[in-house]
Symmetry: D2
Subunit: 157 residues, 4 copies
């Protein structure tokens, strides 16, 4: 089964964050991983584009009911209709989570992920001061996430 990595981050991101997200997605895609995001723009779109163009798969867990709201790099749109409640699903589906920058929405995903036992790595400037592993490049974060996914207890949490 392909490793699944959730990538979370703001829809409104800086050029540096977008570049980090795209290189992260590309490194995950080269490894044949599935990148799981919230399916919208910004970091979600950059990571999905990087992954899909590099040969990986992409899942978008959308807040609304319209699969057409997914960015064009989402292969499998999940239009949940759950609103922000879907944030819990974004991080539950992955075996590891990487956060790229982000604000309140991203912070909720980081915190939910930690609460349910997912490892979370940080790229860029996190939404607040958190005691979590920090990476400086997309490649480094991808290596970390794939290592976590590989050693995760596949039997759930």
């Amino acid at each position: 089964m392909k490793p699944r990595v959730s990538v979370v981050g703001a829809g409104d991101a800086s050029p540096k964050e977008l570049a980090l997200a795209e290189s992260l997605g590309a490194a995950l895609g080269r490894a044949g991983a599935i990148v799981v995001t919230g399916g919208l723009g910004g970091v979600m779109e950059a990571a999905s584009r990087g992954c899909l163009e590099a040969g990986g798969s992409t899942v978008g867990v959308l807040p609304g009911t319209d699969p057409g709201a997914a960015n064009p790099w989402v292969e499998i749109p999940l239009a949940t209709g759950l609103g922000e409640t879907r944030n819990a699903l974004v991080v539950r589906i992955g075996e590891a989570v990487v956060a790229v920058g982000g604000e309140w929405g991203t912070l909720s995903e980081i915190a939910l992920a930690k609460k349910i036992g997912r490892e979370v790595g940080l790229l860029g400037d996190p939404p607040c001061d958190l005691q979590l592993p920090r990476m400086s490049t997309g490649e480094e974060a991808a290596d970390w996430a794939l290592r976590v996914a590989r050693t995760s207890v596949r039997g759930g949490f």
Copy 2:
């Protein structure tokens, strides 16, 4: 984007229902569709196996938190941790829904699908007397579902 068809039905199904589900999955897989199920056994497993072996893709929307609970033909396990509340997501993700036999769980998926505007086709003996399109073979149901998916308003419901 690949068409997405939700296949719902009981985990405890008859040999005839399992054969219908597998032929339905196979016809959808040959067409390059994504089959979305609840990820467990019985009809869910038969449809997933048929689809994956025929070259399609499979998503399993699991009730529990353990992705390892998915049947072996699920490519992308979504371990939601939502319990039976996940039934709404199973039918929301597809563009058309086919129900194969089934009991209370399947009936809830049929009814939720209709409530949110999804077309539902029936194979085998439905859980109660419903005024919905009936098909007699997996191939016929696959043709119907792909036609519905192709003409669905992609912009959501």
Copy 3:
């Protein structure tokens, strides 16, 4: 702890169904029960009005994010933002479920309730032919529901 009874039924109901729902709510309210509904109009509003005016309590589990969408007889609006996915919560919160008439939405609630182990009683014409207890008056249905709630395993399902 007060008994909790979920009352489900269509937003667009007949005068006979509305009268049944109101008398059901009133009988539950006289017994000091909490009536749980989907919080909107029709059967949901009639049952809530009957219950609140008779001295009971009312909870409305709304699909949208606006608590102001609740009918005026809902004491505690739960604006879930979950859309129709909230149907699972409506029936999970009660210890017994009474369905008054209804269409697809109600059928989904009946089926979800049975799937998770709730007893369901029927008033008026059910959405399809179901092998479930039938009552003919609101008082009779209230007696049945209170008896089920009293003997339910309080430790959950």
Copy 4:
């Protein structure tokens, strides 16, 4: 309609946090408010006890399917079966949110609340450094929350 205030905080809390939560609950109860919590122990239990004993109402939005898991001061247990996904509902139901101390779960609730437009006030030591209003007593936090609830756009967010 009674004001609704969500109180979030750790199940495993310090004596100081428990005292803050109880005085917050009591001040809200004296004002006739509904206190909404996650329904379990620690801060959730202390706030519920304070509120109920002071004459207010209490709702507990539980992660599991067993209403019997609610602390004894919860009047209306909502056993959602949604796991940690229920955190989004805890903060959505209130018109204002007060966080008392807390760790990852509480941080997820603070962040989700801000993401959907709820005001959040902090009592005790927050899970990380956040730019949010800080209060020093339960009474002060209750006054703040009731003022926010009173001026909230009742029409949802």
